[in-house]
Amino acid sequence: MNETNNSQEIIICRDVHKWFDQFHVLKGISLTVQKGEVVVIFGPSGSGKSTFIRCLNRLEEHQKGQIIVDGIELGNDIRNVEKIRQEVGMVFQQFNLFPHLTVIQNITLAPSWVRRTPKEQSREQAMQLLRRVGIPEQADKYPAQLSGGQQQRVAIARALAMQPRIMLFDEPTSALDPEMIKEVLDVMIELAKTGMTIVAVTHEMGFARSVANRMIFFDKGEIVEQGTPHQIFNEPQNDRTKLFLSQILRH
């Protein structure tokens, strides 16, 4: 699709800055994600990790620097932004399913209206996705009738229905009860193993350990440290990384 681009680098960020009023929330993030790579971003709350991932599909606007996703630079041209959003799926902490639509309607909505996929085809594809996330029997229910874990799996199916090249996960398990976290992580692990490019903000260290190619530690709007899970867990270099890991791994 983007032949001219070096096809291995699917996300390129150069010196990305963002402010909320006077507050400097991203202080020069530079990062490159390879196609098929699974990147886990973690760090204390308020470190800017969610803001950063939301900049990647321009739910937040960066004010300085450059973000190039799938060969297209994110800027003020709304058509570029819409194009990128079609290629980038996102899963939110609060699921954000559409409560007035059934599960199957939630999934087929964007393919029908944005991609103009014929009705039968988008329905068939949606059922396939629901089977993949393990809840085909819930197709005609409304989101409010599902458990949190089921809702999040529908949200993943909804994002996948657009056949994105990249998936963003913004704390996908933080709003879930403990017994439901695993069912969502299982879907994410399966997805990672199919070669999908994934950028996930999460504190699920088990997930990171088993599928992440790279872990990035955010603190105070900066990338403090990055490396493979093995490096991060066994020989973290930075004191702040060590402190944070000791806090979340203690129990």
Binding site: N57, L59, E82, K83, R85, Q86, V88, G89, M90, F92, Q94, N96, L97, F98, P99, H100, L109, A110, W113, V114, K141, Y142, A144, Q145, A155, R158, A159, M162
Partner: protein, 397 residues
């Protein structure tokens, strides 16, 4: 004996048990009940006595047609019946297609039809036949609605076409021989009241939605125009807008355009007024939508218009159904203000009847009847809308 034992104890449920439990359970409860009954009797006795002996209900019977359609030509009355028949068909169709959501309105319509049939039969009026036909049409179309393919689309379009169509039917046109034009000055009574209500509300809702969206627009011109419009209109009484529409509008139009008829001017006035209120109702709904809904829609690549129409508005409007119906009812009652600009809606008809020499001094009967008309309709609206709310709320929030 064993068979008898499995039956539920009869007096523990039902109205009789309720009465016994709540009104006659102890000696002081009995005393209070009797005292309240006596008090009620003392207070209502004069009213009941008046209603059953002194009141001249003949004034209602003699002027019933006037109450219903004003001075609409009596030889064209079939056109009014036709609007009722089509309405019955649409209600029946909606009931069949949307089931629970429309059932409340359908039940109220059936109840009203049966009541009108019985009343007409009791007084020996010939219109019982028309009401019975309306009932039959409603039920037939209910069954059709149950089996109609693509029923929702057809029914929604039919409703959409209904309003311009009845307008054409009532107003007539010189191009169709069987539908000669009827001067809008002759439209009156309940017919006019309902026309004003329906046009006022259904004209105002789209405008209100646009204003509500405009008020939240990022473009300053659109935003300030919407705010200006809403605050200007909300800041003045309805009657002044009606006077403006009625008296001043002709002066603002170019000289070679004949001013629209008075009824149309009143309708424009209602739409202008009601749009501001509906806009604020809808804005309340828009504000209740979580930011995550916009983000999820955007993240999927939906554009702004798709997000608004497919995601935001359906939820926002559902959230404010009570407020929308509140405005609807409020406007229904406010239509009585057009009496002041010379239109013959229900209240003005009532006053004109009092001027008839043979019915002097029948204020109580006439206004009581007008009171009952408004109250009955509002009861039906309220019942229908609360059933609709229930049906739409199921499993969705």
């Amino acid at each position: 004996m064993a068979v008898v034992e499995v039956k539920p104890p009869i007096l523990s449920i039902g109205p009789l048990a309720w009465v016994r439990k709540n009104l006659f359970s102890t000696w002081y409860n009995i005393a209070l009940t009797l005292f309240a009954a006596w008090l009620l009797y003392i207070l209502l006795k004069p009213a009941i006595e008046w209603a059953t002996t002194e009141a001249r209900w003949g004034v209602i019977e003699a002027n019933l047609t006037l109450f219903m359609i004003g001075l609409y030509p009596r030889d064209q009355i079939g056109r009014v019946w036709l609007t009722i028949f089509i309405l019955a068909a649409l209600i029946g169709l909606s009931w069949g297609v949307w089931k629970h959501a429309a059932r409340g309105f359908a039940l109220m319509a059936i109840g009203a039809g049966v009541a009108f049939t019985l009343i007409a039969l009791y007084f020996g009026w010939s219109v019982w036949r028309e009401w019975l036909i309306a009932e039959a049409i409603l039920l037939i179309f209910y069954v059709i609605g149950l089996y109609l393919p693509r029923g929702a689309l057809i029914t929604a379009s039919a409703w959409f076409l209904y309003f311009p169509f009845i307008f054409l039917l009532i107003a007539g046109t010189k191009y169709i021989a069987t539908l000669p034009p009827v001067d809008s000055g002759l439209w009156g009574g309940l017919l006019l009241t309902l026309l004003l209500t329906i046009v006022g509300n259904f004209g105002a809702l789209p405008l209100g939605i646009l204003l509500a969206l405009g008020r939240r627009s990022r473009l300053p011109i659109i935003r300030y125009f919407s705010i200006g419009y809403i605050e200007l209109i909300r800041g003045v009484p309805l009657i002044t807008i009606l006077y403006m529409a009625s008296i001043l509008l002709p002066y603002f139009l170019p000289i070679d355009i004949p001013p629209p008829e008075r009824v149309i001017r009143a309708m424009v006035g209602f739409v202008i007024f009601e749009a501001a209120y509906q806009a604020e109702n809808v804005r309340g709904g828009l504000q209740s939508i979580d930011r995550g809904q916009y983000e999820a829609a955007n993240a999927l690549g939906l554009n702004g218009a798709q997000t608004t129409i497919l995601i935001i508005l359906p939820q926002a409007l559902r959230a404010v159904i009570p407020a929308l119906f509140n405005s609807f009812i409020s406007l229904f009652k406010d239509t009585s203000l057009v009496a002041l600009i010379g239109l013959f809606e229900v209240v003005r008809v009532a006053r004109s009847i009092l001027a008839q020499p043979e019915w002097l001094g029948t204020h109580r009967e006439v206004f009581l009847f007008a009171f009952i008309i408004f109250w009955t309709f509002n009861l039906a609206f309220t019942y229908g809308s609360s059933r609709l709310e229930e049906a739409l709320g199921v499993g969705k929030r």
